[in-house]
Symmetry: C2
């Protein structure tokens, strides 16, 4: 039941292997680690759950092995933790052929990916995402980052993994709230690119919520395919790739203004997607029927569809820092029906302000 | 008298413009900055000397402008300064189309280049190197880096500038010791790649030392051409590019063990080049005549040709951290005559230890 999505990026292409029971299987590590040094970096909780299994599976392949455990939480995506990782790699004797393995959710993927991007100007890394969000989002596209005190993900690099292992069994221990947060991104792929996939989600949401393995595998696979297709067209996010950020400009502002961690990323994206869809509706680009379907599916997935109450100037300042902006102009992704979206730099200020003021 | 070397790296190709009086001339900035935001980052001393001229020249082109001054010194190549730069960029409203300009020596080029590589996952930058070392070395190849407490340049990225402006007039205010340090790298290019250029240096060293503009322009141009040719063949330093590190494994160890700053980088490279040449001679790969010519030219340039007295275990630990190493093995570049060099992973331990023990 293992299936593979190949992300096509020339000499930076890599496979995403999806299925149950991958982590414990030596054959998924051997081609990448043969005779090389390997450093597993895992978040504390995930290390306890899956660390021993991964270790047993990878140790036969590599020449030397180190495990580094990072405390749980978004706060670890910072210079201090990155500097500590680099220090441990240097002290241990890691070199340019050493492979880093990131075992955990999006925080670990972003942090270890950026550590790999910047250690000795770039070493290989393998992602082993253990949340639905990381499996459908950060596993494709090579975005790595840490946070700056002034904003999320503002410091980072594009650095592709050499392989991704998405083990669906890791989702069995994922809290409901985090499963729902991952579904926000899955639903997003349907909205921006694939109306049939959106309709499939409407029909199969219950199976996803009860963690049916086949339904999850399909949803992860289709999400990765859509993201891989968009990223292959625009690796460095100069154009089309920005569509993947539907709901994210609003979402990042929510995360930033409520203090990172209060809202999960996927929860903020869900509320942000409804805001973007409402804006698109008011601008005459999205029917009220489609706005209703989007809102309903997110709500049925257990996600918030209304933003917290925040002051207008807070919204505008936080959104003004978004990486997609150019020349001081706020850039927003808006759905155009279900299955298509567009990049907008010309949203009327009063329409946006009315929306953010709850009017 | 302005001349241009083009570094060919596909869609990351860029020009190096070399000559007197470039900094004050708006036409060298206009093609790159037109309508974009520009942030000039300069080291304190250089900012005082050249900042106003650069500012006057670039301001007509850009839409908005900010100058950031960084204190002098290698100590600035650290997370703390990088984080401060990123913070100032964010607070000012820099976006993905903002261009950073690095005005100063190698420290500023490495630091600002890495800031550009990691800000919002990569923005454009222009190098304006004001030391001979930076003009002949860091202006080609896209290496950017900061230091880690455990070693020099261990954290960084490959990130090519969009243009380099090497103004030979900036060398008029360069201290003699720093001019000599730059010559160490110029001499290196002759040793590893071009015996005729080496012979030209032997004949024209006096002109370089008295800062004859035509001689300097030729030396910078030829150095950049050689480096560009090697880098174009091996952008990510998987093979041939390592030749550029002749003398650097020893040199980095000297800089690290004496405390960064006591020896200038070029001085450490000069002593390291003599060590590598001596080793090559003892291994039967370099004639005593060629060893003599290399040592003499470096000495006549005013450079140290003997390392400081350091304990053997210190040497070996510091050299064991070099980025070129693979699988725990020390990698050295050794000259094979004048005009050619090779990568060596098989230097006999006792030969190396005898050399480092001063025997």
């Amino acid at each position: 039941m293992t299936s593979t999505v190949r992300v096509e990026l020339g000499d930076r292409s890599y496979p995403i292997v999806i299925g149950p029971g991958l982590l414990d299987s030596p054959r998924h590590y051997e081609p990448w680690l043969r005779g090389r040094q390997a450093v597993l970096v895992a978040s504390a909780t995930v290390s306890g759950l899956h660390g021993p299994g991964v270790e047993r599976a990878l140790q036969p392949s590599c020449s030397r092995y180190l495990r580094i455990v990072v405390p749980d939480g978004e706060a670890q995506k910072c210079w201090e933790t990155l500097d500590r990782l680099h220090g441990e790699l240097i002290a241990w004797g890691a070199d340019r052929r050493t492979v880093l393995l990131a075992l955990g959710g999006g925080v670990i993927g972003d942090l270890v990916g950026f550590a790999a991007a910047t250690f000795q100007r770039g070493v290989d890394f393998i992602q082993i995402p253990t949340t639905l969000l990381a499996q459908v989002d950060s596993s494709v596209g090579g975005k790595t980052a840490i946070n700056h005190a002034l904003g999320k993900n503002l410091i980072g690099a594009f650095h592709q993994p050499i392989a991704v292992l998405s083990d669906t069994e890791t989702l069995n221990t994922l809290p409901d709230r985090e499963l729902a947060a991952g579904l926000a991104e899955v639903i997003k792929y349907g909205i921006i690119h694939d109306s049939a996939f959106f309709a499939w989600m409407e029909a199969h949401l219950h199976e996803l919520l009860r963690r049916d393995a086949a339904a999850l595998t399909f949803a992860i696979r289709r999400s990765c395919e859509i993201k891989a297709e968009i990223v292959a067209q625009d690796e460095r996010e100069h154009g089309r790739r920005a569509l993947l950020n539907l709901g994210h400009t609003f979402g990042h502002a929510i995360e930033s203004l409520t203090g990172y961690g209060a809202w999960l990323h996927g929860e903020a994206v869900a509320a942000g997607t409804v805001l973007a869809s409402t804006l698109a509706h008011r601008m005459g680009r999205l029917s009220s029927d489609d706005l209703g379907r989007i809102t309903r599916l997110l709500e049925q997935a257990g996600l918030p569809v209304r933003p917290p109450s925040l002051p207008l100037d807070g919204w505008l300042t936080a959104m003004g820092r978004d990486k997609k902006n150019e020349g001081g102009r706020i850039t927003l992704i808006l759905p155009e029906g279900i299955g298509a979206a567009s990049v907008n730099r010309e949203v009327p200020a009063n329409t946006l302000e009315a929306l953010l003021s709850g009017r």
